[in-house]
Symmetry: D3
Subunit: 294 residues, 6 copies
């Protein structure tokens, strides 16, 4: 219980900020260092319980690349990538699903449960939660655009909003693995950032928060003074074209744009290495990281 | 908004204690110094907003003796008391009602409103909220018990629980003036402590909290070492008989006993001069003041 | 119970008229002689119980000028008026509130209760029921318009419709004192007619009924043949300009216009001295008094 | 609309009696002169609209013997009776159903509709409203008890309470024809008094009212001074045994006893020839006719 | 219970078709041979129970011409017709109502009940279910159009949709007799096909199905090769003008057109002599009979 | 759609059996051959969609021993067993969870989805769905009972009934992996049969059905004539003691007994190799396999 009046004062000050976000949906892409470091994992779980307890409606989408790679190694299978996308044969897709749904997702729900919250793990294959089709990847080789087959990598067609809301209405936080379901039950591996953006769009979320391992986006990489707090669409697209934004940051920025175009109120790229970064983003005036805007 | 992670930690720690009391009814007798001193009044209002915001169901009963006396003086009317009870003619009862309902009660609801809460003032005469009849006061004169007429002073017959719950269900905190309504619409002045006890009993409240200007009850008055944290029924009655509990403390202790006999879970006499004393009582392990128990 | 079949026939005849108004909101400005004369007060209370019982949703706004004046006199304070508006210092505002909320309002709710109805008294300061700001009064002196300070006299900014509906939905009739609440909790005295108009507008009432001590509006005052049954906006404004409508009748007519402009279906100025004048207005073909129309 | 204040006073007086019976089920056996005389029929319909409008839940069971006889005569079929029970072959049962459901019942619902009420006609064969089996009639011939076959005359096995309540909840008054349904869909003719008693019992009605053509029960038939206002079970059974109660009055008294044994609060035998006799019974202190009590 | 896996397979195959029609309103005009032949009647009742059980909302309107004629004959009254419409005096109207409501309607509800379903019979006179006025019939005599009086034959003014939905929501299938109610309670005989069309229109039904004794509509009567599966409005009107559609088929086609103009999705004329023709129409790809389209 | 009337007849016959089980909970232990063979898997999914479609509330608990063994082998880890229980170190527990939740469970929900149903996969670690503690295994060595440590193998402490019902109420079929959650978030491997029994008990299921690869229980193994259709508690316990029931059948029979003791209505051990064995058990008079009874 409270040991000092000072703490009571803290609670009293917090009420207006909490009130502002009650009943609002916040979609969180969870991944990177915040998912590996044990202390950060615990703080993340506390943050989720906090949001749920004070009446927000958090929805978690998690990634898991490194652990999939590790598992594939364990069974003696090598991972190949083209432009950051894993070439995914049937066995790889199956292992990916197993690691994402059976290990990472379960780890998150049980950590939230241990911290006093209520969470339900969902695969994108539960009741067509994430309907998907094969992603046709265009790459440029020798100045020519070619479509190449990278296997069971999917793109999102539709989100089963009823299922997510049904879980939220029951008082549980949905934790979603980025597995897509094809028309005939095929398993598709999908980029978790992209899935988070699609879900925020489908739910018309109040906020989309992308946890990363950096502070946000910089005008010039390596120059901390060039940090961008507020990034417009146009500028973001230009920076991608100019390769100032590259690698894994591209799908994150694209997911933000996707969500914002579909009625999500705000989208944020923040540093998951900072403890309680999500609560800080939501409940402080200054916020954290780079906010993408229309 | 939060300025430091430390404050976020405070919030996280608070969740289990808040959870424990959500949806519980807490009846608070508000009076004394906490109602006169401006800083304390503001802290009291903050506490009420806090309880309401975090899902408890506070019900406030207020007193107001000194202000009634002052108003009577203003219009040139002298107050007479017999054994602590004001002799109440029709004009006095009318002035009492005016001061209680029209000044003190409105002052409380508006202060709660200014602090961001939602409150509705109720007179005991609204829809028979407090049904009452004339109190027949026994006093001892020369060793003989006599019943004397002290005018429009009432005792509680019944509480309109539907009205209180209807206000609570609408999301508002009821603030109740201790005015009783006779069968033919007469106005009765009733001791606010007694009313608080009856309302806690009628609502089968989780807690009854009596705000006073002292820390609680002492074995020997003036000896701070003789403070009683937990006081049993039997002992309380014995102390009243032995005049170790006397004056205005008698109806407070009796109200606690009354409530406890009728399914109220716990009853507390605490010092309203301590800032946030109510939150401290509810949300700290040690609590505050004297707890009366069965 | 019924003693004759004739009375049963009366009931049967009444059904269609009652059906027509079920669930409809009727805002009533209560004041004047009907609030002072004991018999009329009882009949008024019966009328309110009648409306509630047969399924209408009455909302009462009361005045109280004379009693405030009387109370001020009692404590030795003189009342000053400019153009019919009381110059209101802090003490005056406090006394006004005390008399309105603590005496008159409580008197109305208890009389309704004694007559078998259910009523809840509300101050405009309960949960921002009536948000207000300082009224800036323009007067003309020597042909020049000047703004003068008349103290804590307010004008309505907003009405808390949720609170009124919450009380109505609980099955209680709200009785409202014309006290406004400033941004920082200030107490404003507001003209009761104006408040009634604003509340009818906010609730989009079926009817606004203003009780007065005269039959309605006359073309030529003192000439009973010049009585106006139906008064148009334009004509009303012209009559005010020509001072054919003056004094306390001006805010009444203005309140009617205000309500009608905001979806109130009809507005009536009727004579409260006639017993059951409200029921007569609502439930007879001819109605009573002057009806203001768009 | 009201033409005089006197009528408003009548309405005001009526409120407490109406309040007492709101939401209560009243089962009415309708038949005899009140069903034939046009003026009485209209008054009966008005009474039903009255009960419905003021929030009671009337349920009507009607009879129809004379009209069945008339119809049978029209098609050249003679009616035979044994101990007051019609010998009922298949054609007779069909004609009875046609007259009861297709003529009398429809006549009642349309008359209630014309008077502004809402009614739905039900046959006992709709969804097993009245489940029945063949009545085995014992008669005494030459001092010996014999069971004789009187054809398709039924006794009630069960009432579909869900259907009646479903109609009432929709805001409609059920009007029920005393036709029973056998296990294989057979049509049974059943005494309407008996059906009314069973339905009152099944619904645990507040009141069962049997309309007849006489004032009630007399100690000595023809001696108006011997009228019995309150009749006990025991006495009723004794009077039947002594043949002081005989003929068509027997099933009426038995139906009252049946209902009272099954939680119906009171049972009344009243004179349907008196206009508004039902409202008089319910809403006057004295009531009407003979009340049967446990 | 199931005796073979094959039957389980049938059930599994049926699920998608059933799902498609769940909660949809299907209005069925029931008459002709399907109402006379005992085996067909039983199959019809089974079909209705089927629709209800699997979550559709069937509404039945029945005819009954031949049985009315037969009854009139029984009481020695001759039927006269002008252009297919029965000249209907008061006695005839009364007999028609008795036969329709008291015999045919009750026969249908009891047969559905025996088969395990739940049905409630309704007359058009129950609570203004079918409001009607006198039909003014134009006929051509010697090249001149004359309006003739054919008595109590009505046309539909309005349908009480609330009553039908209230019965459906209670879980019962409404069975409706084509009796209309005039402003003053008059009984009007109305063509059942017309009533079915009006009810489908008022309910904005998914389907209107007219049961007849023929397979549907033919280009050339008697030439089975000229069968028309899909018939457009324009063509239908032209065929009526050219007398290729005539007699009792005219009101059927007109009812289909009427319903389709008012948001009914599809209208069908099918052969009731084929067992389970209704289920076949709804649940097979090919359907049955002639479908009328916009 | 239906191609023949015969199929319509099948549907009509099925209605009463379906009606009997609507809204009833059926817990199914899914495992063995029925989970490996592709055709059987499809038929199982169809059965689940069937149950859901026709209004039952199926809950699936799946096993997965062979696939866990296979996966362990893949990563080069050997499985050790003591008395049929796998010795489970942390890595084994993690692999087991991954295979159960991430592969098998997802395979089931997606197959149900492909077949038109709605399913949600749940791990026992989602919101304490299956609270567990370490199982202390007693074994007999040289005639002495010793408790041995077999690692992270758990026994069930509690089931989160709210979560299961919340999923069912949302219209989804829960598919549950037999993973238990320790007080501090440990992962426990639990026998799926045991979990199914506990869940049936917690839900007070209508039926518990254990899918196996044999027809049921035999008096004498290998003697098909000694098949036991109905097996009593006492006999079952005796047969276990006499080792007539042994190996993997022991936990199945014990789970049945456990469920029956806790208000499950019936428990069945059936052969999952028979297509549609579950529907056959539920919807045929004879049922399938061995029914265990109290």
């Amino acid at each position: 219980m409270f040991k000092s009046t000072e703490k009571i004062e803290t609670m009293i000050e917090a009420m207006p900020y909490i009130r502002k976000f009650q009943k609002k949906v916040v979609v969180i892409k969870y991944g990177g260092h915040a998912m590996i470091n044990e202390e950060l994992r615990n703080k993340f779980a506390q943050d989720m319980v906090f949001l749920q307890f004070f009446g927000l409606r958090p929805v978690i989408v998690h990634g898991g690349g490194p652990e999939i790679t590790e598992m594939l190694k364990k069974i003696g299978k090598k991972s190949e990538f083209i432009e950051g996308l894993r070439i995914t044969d049937k066995e790889t897709a199956e292992i990916a699903q197993m690691v994402l749904v059976g290990k990472i997702n379960s780890g998150i729900t049980s950590l939230i449960t241990v911290n006093g919250g209520k969470a339900v793990g969902l695969s994108g294959k539960d009741s067509n939660l994430i309907s998907a089709k094969k992603l046709l990847k265009e790459i440029e080789i020798d100045g020519q655009t070619k479509i190449i087959d990278i296997g069971l990598v999917g793109e999102v067609l539709d989100i089963n909003v009823h299922l997510i809301n049904s879980i939220l209405d029951g008082g549980y936080t949905p934790v979603i693995s980025p597995i897509g379901m094809g028309e005939n039950g095929e398993t598709y591996n999908i980029n978790a950032d992209t899935v988070a953006g699609k879900i925020a769009a489908a739910l018309q979320a109040e906020k989309l928060i992308m946890l990363t391992d950096v502070n946000g986006i910089y005008e010039k990489q390596g120059d901390s003074k060039s940090f961008i707090s507020v990034l417009s669409f146009d500028k973001a697209l230009k920076m991608i074209a100019e390769k100032k934004i590259d690698g894994g940051m591209i799908p994150k920025v694209e997911a933000c744009i996707d969500a914002l175009k579909n009625m999500t109120k705000s989208a944020h790229i923040i540093n998951g290495k900072i403890p309680h970064s999500i609560l800080t983003e939501i409940f402080t005036d200054k916020g954290l990281g780079t906010m993408v805007v229309i």
